[in-house]
Amino acid sequence: MDELAERYRANLELLEAARVRLQAAADAGTADDAERRRLETVKELLTPVTESAVDAEGNVVAVLRSRQFLKVDVDGQGRAVEVLGDVQHAKNVAVLVPGMGNSLDTFRGQSDRGDLIRQEARPSETAVVVWLDYDSPHGLVQAASKAAALEGGPRLAEFLNELDGLKADGAEVTAVAHSYGTDVLGQALLDGGRAKRVVMTGSPGITKYVDEAADFVQPPTRLYVERAPGDYVAYSEWHGPDPATFPDAIRMATNDPIANDEAVSVHWHNEYYRPNSEALRNIGRVVRGDLNSITTTDTSRSAETKLVLGASWGGPLNAVAGAASKVYDGIASLTKPSPASARAAASGEAGQSGGELGAVERAGAAGQGAVPGRGGAARATGVTRGRRGEGPRR
């Protein structure tokens, strides 16, 4: 048995021991609600998953295999680091860092979103590591603090560097983080963690003095950022300047400006990882290294908020961002925009030219800090193809 398989097996043994202990408490009537919930979580983590394979006759068959944990901790909030796919042979590896309110008991959802990313990133060649190895802040008071990021960042940095020894030579690692997860990832990069590419969605900022990618992402690593129309957390710049404004970051589109009325719109802070959304597709493109297919945008905060709700509120929100309750409770309760208004916000100033990501990549890799494509959402082909009134087309 190789070292990785042994590690998977050892963590399953930890889970099994926890299951026995928690089940005994439940059977004895001494388990509290949290322990009973944890028991159900542990049972689920021990349940094998199903994969498709081909048998000797060429038939597609179902194959059961155990889940693959690089780490589990069933105590307290609980922690887990799970590998989806074959990390030893994958050409691409994504590391997903979740945000606040998470624990071992919410790991089903985290793993599900990790799988969704993998589906977008050529799963036969991609592994996703769902990394919950920090005490995710629970509640706004904790999330207002950088403490969890400062505590967890060094551990993520250590893991990113450890990953070099687990993955295949030449496999490219993309670190993906959302919301408070971007704080943890940003801290990890400041602490020496390395990845080929970095994706941050809905970031409240890294820290006060970080206002460009070069401050925390070392070349040739590139920073890819998403900010959806109406993302009040990103507008708040609660923890520092919004990475979507960094001059040397590649700002990816979250909505497809030319899609039909059935398009999946992404707005506010919570919809980046919707199936079929442009936001998720772009994340998949980065993970699988299909960088020329990325669509970009450079819509402003005021334009996004004006188009979403008919009045500009991004600026005033930014001004009061110190009050967390105003950021979350006030804005989150507003009426959602329509898909049409979200797409309009995504298309930005109509008629501007498209981006040239290839040029941006080259310039950025050379440390020149080039500005990504101007205008609304655009296919990053380097070819400008305007579309009157709706921004550039693909």
Partner: protein, 122 residues
């Protein structure tokens, strides 16, 4: 039939129609999840996502597979659109009554993956 069961049955039926001589495999069906979990894990589990895989390992044709999948989906009442291929990635985007389905096929893999999500349930 609940939303999760409906979605699973639709994906299995479409997969079976696209590759009739293979039996589809349900590879992902964990039950309700919080779709905003990456922002705040404390939210309610309000959607179910299901994935089904099939394929023709001996003679994969991803372009034909997604075209056939779109046809089958439309015949079953879905709005389905074949996306422009992206460097070996073939895709169908489909929706119906708040359900969202993506069909993925890849030039480098025999598998066709049908993955979908139920509407939000408050």
């Amino acid at each position: 039939m609940g939303g999760r069961e409906f979605l699973r049955s639709e994906l299995v039926a479409v997969a079976a129609a696209v590759v009739p001589d293979q039996e589809p495999v349900v590879t992902h069906d964990p039950g309700p999840v919080n779709p905003g979990v990456l922002f705040d894990g404390r939210g309610a589990a309000t959607v179910c996502r299901v994935s089904v895989e099939t394929g023709n390992p001996k003679d994969p044709d991803p372009a034909a597979a997604v075209s056939a999948a779109a046809d089958v989906l439309r015949a079953r009442g879905w709005n389905a659109e074949v996306a422009a291929p992206e460097n070996g990635h073939y895709r169908v985007v489909a929706s119906r009554d708040g359900y969202e389905v993506a069909v993925h096929a890849w030039a480098s893999d025999w598998r066709i993956t049908f993955t979908g999500e139920t509407p939000l349930v408050s």
